[in-house]
């Protein structure tokens, strides 16, 4: 359990929220992550409509798939951003945001107001290291996630990826260098 910041006692960790099946728990998970995720999607798409659709689609997919979440495979946030990265990839390839998960969940499309657009633009400026991680090349991103976020050993990652341990170390090193450049404002 994580400690809450308001002095009202412990609050459940993200993994616990996903494990629970009740609506309020998923709502809490959504509230913790929706704005940072939307900000990252706005940053990488540069398009508020697309970022909004991808945010909705990501959380709809997470809602449907939360029963299949495996805490031993990835942290909840990593899992969520993995879904978003997949949706983003589809968007880039097709030129539009899919709505399959949203339709399966029976959700209506949520339109954006002008104020919402401004909010998305503001959120894009609040990008965190986690969001920057998603901008790395796939092999580096996965290596950094596995080693630093999930705490897996180099040898284990190498075995799972079918590459040498040295290659994994190199990917992690390059990924961290990429993050440093991005934090410094470079691309």
């Amino acid at each position: 359990m994580e400690l809450s910041g308001n002095g009202h006692g412990p609050r459940p960790a993200d993994a616990e929220l996903l494990r629970r099946r009740d609506t309020d728990s998923f709502a809490e998970f959504y509230r913790r992550h929706a704005r940072p995720l939307a900000g990252w999607l706005m940053r990488v798409t540069g398009d508020a409509e697309a970022a909004a659709d991808l945010t909705a689609e990501t959380f709809a997919a997470a809602l449907v798939a939360r029963r299949r979440y495996r805490p031993d495979r990835a942290a909840p946030r990593t899992w969520l951003y993995g879904i978003a990265a997949h949706k983003l990839s589809d968007w880039r390839r097709r030129g539009y945001a899919e709505d399959g998960a949203r339709r399966r969940a029976g959700m209506e499309r949520v339109p954006l107001s002008e104020d919402d657009v401004h909010e998305f633009e503001r959120l894009a400026g609040e990008v965190t290291v986690m969001e920057l991680l998603e901008e790395l090349p796939g092999d580096q991103r996965d290596a950094v996630r596995a080693r630093l976020l999930d705490g897996r050993e180099y040898a284990e990652i190498a075995g799972a990826e079918g590459v040498s341990e040295a290659a994994v170390r190199q990917r992690v090193s390059r990924g961290l260098a990429g993050l440093r450049r991005r934090i410094g404002g470079e691309r």
């Binding site: 609506t23 959504y30 509230r31 508020a48 409509e49 029976g106 959700m107 949520v110 104020d115 633009e121």
Partner: protein, 238 residues
């Protein structure tokens, strides 16, 4: 997902998610493959005509747009081979290129239900450096059985602030077409025409208009006598 009043986008999305969580997942009918093919329609390759409505420059072909691959170039995009069949430039959209490719199979990940088969002919428009700084791309796969050889694809282009800045209307044109026209139902009406642009060998002819968002209209091709060559195709509603 709360008792809070639905205010901004995030509150409204939360309400949608809460309602979805309460009722559980449900099956949503998907279009049948044949239906998807017939309705989604689309075609292929290139041409251009551009800009019509705002003083944009005339589109160019065969390498006419600097910084984009010449017509006939085969490129890889998302692991698929695309052929550049026309290129052009407009003031609002910047440099663009039409590309033909083949569809990949799309299926429901849970049920396996197929809603787009692999191998359909597709036509898309792409731009890597538009004035808005927001690269875009998109297209459609399938055929238009009611207008053989003629198709209509639409793609909205977003500008600063996330609003649709303009709409690209493009498609394939029959060999015997002398012109493509789009008639917009604006105040007083607006008629724009262009000569079809020739794609690389075997790819046929194409067209592209840039129109303002939010207008209705119809696109068709004309034969050498100036007669309409087909029943025409309505633009997608705004």
């Amino acid at each position: 997902m709360s008792e809070r009043a639905a205010g901004d986008f995030f509150d409204r999305l939360e309400l949608e998610l809460r309602a979805a969580a309460d009722r559980g997942p449900r099956r949503v009918p998907r279009p049948r493959p044949a239906f998807a093919v017939a309705v989604a329609a689309v075609a292929v390759a290139v041409v251009v005509a551009l800009a019509v409505l705002g003083g944009e420059r005339e589109p160019r072909v065969a390498g006419g747009a600097p910084g984009v691959p010449p017509v006939g170039t085969v490129i890889e995009r998302g692991g698929e081979k695309h052929t550049v069949v026309a290129t052009g430039t407009s003031g609002r959209v910047g440099r663009w290129q039409l590309e033909t490719y083949r569809s990949t199979r799309l299926a429901d990940p849970d049920t396996g239900e197929e809603y787009q088969p692999a191998g359909l002919r597709c036509l898309g428009v792409f731009s890597s450096d538009p004035p808005s700084g927001r690269p875009f791309g998109g297209g459609q796969c399938g055929e238009f059985p009611r207008t053989p050889g003629f198709s209509r694809v639409q793609h909205s282009v977003y500008g600063h602030g996330g609003h649709v800045a303009s709409v690209l209307v493009f498609g394939r044109v029959p060999d015997d077409a002398s012109k493509v026209k789009v008639v917009l139902r604006t105040k007083g009406g607006l008629w724009k025409g262009m000569k079809p642009l020739t794609g690389p060998p075997g790819q046929g002819d194409f067209y592209l208009f840039e129109i303002p968002p939010g207008v209705e209209g119809r696109v068709n091709w004309l034969d050498r006598d100036g007669n309409e060559g087909s029943r025409g195709i309505e633009l997608l509603p705004p």
